[in-house]
Symmetry: C4
């Protein structure tokens, strides 16, 4: 089976996830700038989640463009990833409306770890299908970026017990690390344009 | 007519259905772990529905990748399937918010039977178009999996009159049966790669 | 410009319109069958709108599959059609929640006339681009089906001043007429498979 | 990397943005024409935003159809544009529900400036990738239309301090300027059909 429809479905789901988050920002009653004030934390959490989902789409795009086919296992690994991503709007809203208090920030972090793990599982399912010597396997490498992210997320969760903003700032650090798209794959693809 | 746009439209609708279900999980007022407790049944019904929709997308993907063209009848059979799937978010919410009480679980089951029947009708419309000797007809075979599912769903609905959780567990059994993608088609396609 | 992206965007918008309508069916408080009773009119209006949107997607699919290119005018004619379709969820909800009382049914009908007119304008923009001797122009013909629909809708609107259900039943008649996909185009395409 | 998936994802996000705006028009309680009256300003702001998003999709379509490939920078420039567009439904609702009072109209204008700037950045990222002598660079030219738009938006924002409707009318003027799709690119593409 070709990658086309998996990409289309993932694009659809990710597009909806990234967009319905904005529905958590309820239109305020007043029309003054002050009436927007209570929305500031909701907006901050929206921005971080928008960037996080953007990062996932970006990396998903890179990974699939280095893939040539999919199988049943890959389809389910992908749906598993989409499941964790689908919880982000809920946790974004919960975190924002509670002004980044402890438990919402912790659960948001746990969700990010689950999504990160699901992404790694998807990568492994794709590598298993394409072979250990494929462009994909080569580009994915030892996935130090993914491993470091999980560690920083876990550190962030622990820091929440001291101060939730401190924990939250760890998530921002990870987003910063990933903001730059996965050059590993882009580089490999450029080196072997015939494979694209 | 090619299958492309039918797949694209179905991907769009299924992607939205699978994602808007999360909107039924309303952000709770409190910020403690306890404030999430009332959401647990909603979350459980969300997980089952997410898997069910995932199964439909998966099988839809397999079935269409074994098809080469569509006609007006197929288009309507597909819209009919999407109609029953579109009711899943509503029934998921109703079932979750009422902690799996009798009537919501029964109606959820009836909806699953209707969706299952609609899927069979879509398969038959596609087989009629491609011929009884097509890869698709061969792969679909006698559809024992589909028939058994309907029987287990019906059993689950009956069990609801004794205990709704018992009925619900039958639906989980069916999801378990289908969790493995339809290897029949995948196998046939691999055997005849030229047809793909 | 190719038709691909116009189709993709329209598929996306129509998929969302057809799916968000279900959000108008609010999960009821109780868990008995009786608690669903107030939703019956909402459900009926949902079913009609689902079929109507399905018809538009179906015909849109047929029309675009007979087209080979688009221009700026076609893009705007298409956005114009999507605008009127986008109002259907709102009017569906208003009509259902008010149990098919006069004004909601009238405005629903006016909206259907606007959407029908927008569809004709889109067809004309496409025919202008492809030429009067194109398969498309030939298949579209004198559009008696479209013209009769407008007349029946208008009759339905007038009947609403006597009885809104009578008016509503006229809309059902039009849906019945269109339920069968536009065989004209399908037929023409089959006759000239090389053009497809 | 090809442009296909960037287009698909953008189509998805823009399709959702243009459609969920209609959810801001809450179904009114009554069933008379009078009960729709309070929705008129919401409807007006909906129409303008629908046209604005339509313009962005249209120009995005033209720009990408003149592009042949994308890189990481383009992906992020595109996500950045989608971010500002994603805020339009929120600001549309806020502006409509407050009957075009000062601050909502000002923030709507600032958002339009941000989206316009993001569009220019995306265009520049694409031109950088395709070269200064590409069809794209040639068609984009000096972007006087984009620059004039920003100036009129800024003028509109200033006018809001006198009268918000006056400011709002400036945004309508810009929509009028852009309503006609970017003929520059369409023209260039027609001149060089081999490049398409």
């Amino acid at each position: 089976m070709k990658t086309g429809r998996l990409e289309a479905f993932s694009d659809g789901v990710i597009a909806i996830i990234i967009t319905i988050m904005v529905l958590e920002m309820k239109v305020p009653k007043g029309d003054s700038l002050n009436s927007l004030k209570p929305l500031i934390p909701v907006f901050i959490s929206y921005v971080l989640s928008f960037i996080n989902i953007g990062i996932y789409w970006n990396n998903h795009h890179h990974m699939l463009s280095a893939s040539t086919s999919v199988n049943g296992k890959v389809l389910w690994a992908n749906i598993h990833l989409l499941f964790w991503l689908s919880l982000i709007p809920f946790l974004t809203g919960w975190m924002g409306e509670n002004h980044f208090s402890k438990w919402p920030v912790i659960l948001y972090g746990i969700n990010l770890i689950m999504a990160g793990t699901a992404y790694t599982l998807l990568a492994k399912a794709l590598i298993q299908l394409h072979g250990k010597n494929s462009t994909l396997a080569d580009a994915f490498g030892k996935d130090w970026k993914g491993k470091i992210s999980i560690i920083i997320y876990a550190a962030g969760i622990c820091l929440c017990f001291i101060n939730a903003w401190l924990g939250f700032s760890m998530y921002v650090v990870v987003a910063g690390i990933w903001f730059i798209p996965d050059r590993r794959i882009e580089k490999k693809l450029t080196e072997q344009p015939a494979n694209e």
